[in-house]
Symmetry: C2
Subunit: 167 residues, 2 copies
Amino acid sequence: MTERSAAGNALTDAVLPVFELNGELLAAARDISEPAGLTPAWWQVLGATLDEPLTVSDIARRVGLGLARQSVQRTADLLVAKGWAAYGTNPHHRRAKLLSPTDAGRATLLLLRDTQHAWADAVGAEVGAEELRSFVDTARRIAEASRAYRAGQLSRPVGTAAPSGPG
Amino acid sequence: MTERSAAGNALTDAVLPVFELNGELLAAARDISEPAGLTPAWWQVLGATLDEPLTVSDIARRVGLGLARQSVQRTADLLVAKGWAAYGTNPHHRRAKLLSPTDAGRATLLLLRDTQHAWADAVGAEVGAEELRSFVDTARRIAEASRAYRAGQLSRPVGTAAPSGPG
DNA sequence: ACTTGATTGACAGGATGCTGTCAATTAGCC
DNA sequence: GGCTAATTGACAGCATCCTGTCAATCAAGT
């Protein structure tokens, strides 16, 4: 039982490219955000407060992307210390203050948005919108299938059937 | 100039799913390697030495995936300290010792290989080999296009042309 | 041989993220 | 009103990876 199926090989072949792409996206985010004086993580947290003030816990829940509440907390404190954001009183909670960008933070966010647009348009045009959409679809399906497998909800090979099909 | 193109939107929509998939793959690697007593990073470094003994610098170059030489160094030292691997003398270099797995390390690697096969086969079957192949192709093209853009080798939008087309 | 430059490992420092614990606060329930 | 559970922020500790610096070692050219 040491031979992988063709699909198994295909999935294994996908792992390294995903890691590589992940790193490239992070590098691009760094290139975009660094000239403005903030890191990708700061950008992410600060950006979440652009539309409306949010508590740290709100951001941690919304961002979701593997950022723990305490990580967001530290980042938020940093943003406040550096003048990108400020804590405001929360009518609904005495401890959970509302984080919102300062004028400088807001201006920087808008600037970064334009820089990001330029990058996304250029790279997106190179790959093609249609191909990108099916790419996203596959990425989601892989993640979902792996989650199901790890949760024990996906039996072994022989392509028996999906526990809860894609449709 | 704050409007993104359709392709730009499609690419932006791809970023979060890639991060999420990256996290899921790491989680799967953790689930696979942790019961055996090693972390994904240890697995990666140790696995590189399965076929032939390598120096730390060799591994850092080969692995490539964003693992710096010094990170591999520390991991390698850890693997030796924990009995998974051992340093052997290198006929070609007095300082750069050759890292190779111990019997225990080799046995663990083979065990992890089987566990990984089961995961890859199950998840791969769920997604489909054909779809996975085009997924990998797109992932590579995105990374390549972004690298080119960051290197200044990709002009802005209007889908003018590719500097060095995909075919 | 000698010099010059690249490689390599050791060491120190820093950034980021996670987990665990604790008290303050809030929300739900009786 | 009072009790219990969940949420939230503060604090401390830990793991991982990165960068920079330095001396030892190797490779190449003269």
